[in-house]
Amino acid sequence: MSATVAVILALAVGTYAFRLVGPVLHGRVVLPARVRELLSAGAVVLLVALLATGALTEDGGFAGWARPAGVSAGGILAWSRAPFVVVVLGAAVTTALLRAAGVA
């Protein structure tokens, strides 16, 4: 078994185990209402943190201006209740245009 196969298998088994915790526990462990509330709040907090780090950082450093500019455009569109398609395409197109214009 090559090292690459070992990496893939370790990642696959570990990731599946993480993902399985919630579905397996569901119905066996009765979580208090406060914990359930914190879990769904925690999911939103995680998603917003992913949004922020995904928008601003790349490999531990700043991602450059084009990406956060595009995400901000998407954010403004979302805030003004633009349709989902407009939000997503607005973000991608803004970043693509800035890159085409030479902004990293």
Partner: protein
């Protein structure tokens, strides 16, 4: 009380269109993952198998990046796993949405990603959440893997995918999906920015995957239990 709905959740054209768009975007990212892996010297089966059994975009990119950079198998696996620890929290948050039957639990767990969780949590009512989770889950799994296979076979035909601005599209997807929850819940409006600030502050100093976990400290700002 059952509300009168014009469309059933699974036939909701708006949801279908939104999911289709995110599938399309992730398909293109899949193509670039396949292309980057093969261009870097890995055989076609590596990105294809990894996408099927690991099925987590950011972990796959980082693992392949480390392998190609000569960082070694242990670093590749550990970084990927660290990035995926968040799926445990997500799995707990959508456990009820996934359903109770064992086939649903076992298959649904594999489909837990940032996007499927965001789609599910953006819906109101358990029925619509379930429809959104499974629709986006099955759709993204199919399109992501097809994209990776196409990219691995085609090589660099798409060129540098950074020029399409897709790296800005995914944070925007998350923004669109979490905004309704933020508008509704003052506790989240305190906790989420606090968590994001922590994540950004520690990003230069800690390994990938750790920043978003530390963002959970933002929950301390969530406040007291809301009245039911």
């Amino acid at each position: 009380m059952r509300s009168v709905r014009r469309t059933s959740p699974v036939r909701d054209p708006e949801l279908l269109r939104d999911v289709a768009l995110v599938c399309l975007a992730s398909g293109v990212v899949g193509v670039s993952f396949g292309a980057i892996s093969v261009a870097g010297g890995l055989p076609v089966w590596v990105p294809v198998l990894m996408s099927l059994v690991v099925y987590a975009g950011s972990a796959q990119f980082s693992a392949v990046g480390i392998l190609l950079a000569g960082g070694g198998p242990v670093a590749a696996a550990v970084t990927g796993l660290l990035l995926n620890t968040r799926t445990a929290a997500f799995g707990l948050a959508v456990a009820e949405t996934i359903g109770r039957s064992w086939p649903a639990r076992l298959v649904g767990a594999h489909l837990v990603t940032d996007e499927t969780v965001a789609f599910a949590l953006a819906q109101t009512g358990p029925e619509r959440r379930r429809a959104a989770f499974w629709l986006s889950g099955v759709g993204m799994f199919a399109v992501w893997n097809a994209g990776v296979l196409a990219g691995a076979l085609a090589g660099g035909a798409l060129g540098d995918t950074a020029r399409y601005g897709l790296d800005a599209a995914f944070p925007a997807v998350l923004a669109a999906l979490v905004l309704p929850a933020l508008r509704q819940d003052a506790g989240l409006r305190r906790a989420a920015p606090a968590g994001a600030a922590v994540a950004l502050a520690v990003t230069p100093a800690v390994p990938a995957g750790v920043p978003v976990l530390l963002a959970l400290t933002g929950l301390f700002a969530y406040g007291r239990r809301r009245p039911a």
